[in-house]
């Protein structure tokens, strides 16, 4: 990546942070949602510690996966709503735009994962396995790439936006499975770590490859 492209990636990422600092859209949609999801899941599962411990990894990852849907709106849908998408596309080449948006979505999803993990640790009284950190990093990277690609694909038009959940949730299943298994105490680590890694690599590469086409009208 050239120096100019690198600085444009950072500029896109910083712009996303500045917009979030000003509007707090991702914060106000994600944090209450994840908190409510984990608390309600705990109440639904009941007070049995064994049941809570078994369900904790899946609960945290399911909260993260479902939270990708509103987060995807901040990638391009909010730009379209503000009529800023054209300017952004004109100023930044597709590769740098993808990387900057990906970096933003990854940061947001990683923080979401940390929040969900923290909540299940406190409320479900469980201790996550050390390898869950790797699952969190790889899984949220894959979901961030999905969020970025599908966020752009579905940004124009309410019918497309309606498809977002139907596209993101099934496509994120490998991240849900690998992340959940890597967070569980007694799991064979290697196969799930390989799945998380391969899935992240495939999704990031695929979305990067099709991103210029997604930007075309």
């Amino acid at each position: 990546m050239s120096g100019q492209a690198g600085s444009q990636v950072i500029a896109v990422f910083r712009r996303e942070l500045a917009v979030e600092r000003a509007g707090r859209e991702a914060l106000v949609t994600t944090v209450p949602f994840v908190a409510a999801f984990v608390v309600l899941a705990g109440l639904a599962l009941g007070p049995d510690p064994a049941r809570l411990a078994a369900a904790a990894p899946g609960t945290a990852w399911l909260a993260v996966l479902v939270a990708t849907v509103p987060l995807a709106r901040t990638v391009a849908g909010a730009e379209v709503a503000d009529d800023t998408w054209d300017a952004l596309r004109g100023l930044v080449p597709p590769g740098a735009l993808f990387a900057g948006k990906l970096l933003w979505a990854w940061s947001a999803l990683a923080l979401t994962w940390l929040l969900a993990q923290g909540l299940v640790v406190v409320l479900f009284d469980v201790r996550p396995a050390p390898q869950s950190i790797y699952g969190g990093a790889a899984g949220t990277l894959a979901l961030a790439a999905l969020t970025t690609g599908l966020g752009v694909l579905t940004a124009s038009g309410p019918r497309r936006r309606g498809l977002l959940a139907a596209l993101v949730l099934p496509a994120g299943l490998p991240a849900l499975l690998a992340g959940t298994q890597l967070a569980a105490e007694q799991t064979a680590v290697l196969p799930w770590a390989v799945l998380a890694t391969l899935y992240a690599a495939v999704v990031v590469t695929a979305v990067w490859a099709v991103f210029p086409a997604l930007l075309e009208e």
Binding site: S7, A18, V19, T84, D86, A87, G90, L91, E216, E217
Partner: protein, 198 residues
């Protein structure tokens, strides 16, 4: 210096060409006004010139950054004018140009206001400030005059002349060309299946 060259370009919607094959060459430091009735393809032409649309036939060549701005658009509504303009300028490595652009557009007193709270005319000026700060080779403005009163329109003309003097090629679509035509280098008229360059 040549900034934009369109050679025999068309763009089809639903299988129908919006205009006949169009040749257009824009030099840096020129102002071209695009006029024509609704549906004549002004927006399509500007978006194509800016690289947002691919021509159905023909070729487009552009040297440097091309920026398309519709009306008062281009800035995130949650941000302050200062941050939004600086953020856009930073995308092309020109963050330091933002204060000067705000001054040029007379926006110093509004710099701390959120973009979403500005009036339509103020938003046009803010959008122009962001475009000026980015210093694109080609700036395509789509109906920048729609929300402006007479005084603001005169200010807009002065700003466009300053942008042109800095070497930017301007392509401006408008339904109110009277204020712009006296200072324009060319006028492109779309409509009735014809394209005329005056």
């Amino acid at each position: 210096m040549g900034v934009l060259r369109l050679a025999g370009v068309t763009r089809a919607h639903a299988g129908r060409a919006v205009w006949p094959p169009l040749d257009l060459a824009l030099e840096g430091g020129t102002l071209t006004v695009v006029t024509g009735p609704n549906g004549s393809g002004k927006t399509t032409l500007l978006r194509l010139a800016a690289g947002l649309l691919r021509p159905t036939t023909g070729e487009r060549e552009c040297t440097g950054t091309a920026l398309y701005v519709r009306g008062a658009a281009g800035l995130r509504s949650a941000q302050t004018v200062r941050d939004a303009v600086a953020g856009n300028a930073a995308l092309v490595g020109r963050r330091e140009a933002a204060p000067g652009a705000l001054r040029l557009l007379g926006l110093e007193t509004l710099a701390g206001r959120r973009v979403g709270t500005l009036s339509a005319g103020e938003r046009v000026r803010a959008a122009l400030a962001a475009a000026v700060a980015c210093s694109p080779a080609l700036l395509c403005l789509d109906e920048p005059t729609a929300a402006l009163d007479d005084a603001a329109l005169a200010d807009l003309v002065a700003v466009l002349e300053a942008v042109r003097a800095a070497g930017t090629a301007l392509l401006v679509a408008t339904h109110q060309p009277d204020a712009l035509l006296p200072v324009a280098d060319a006028r492109l008229v779309l409509g009735e299946g014809r394209v005329r360059l005056r």
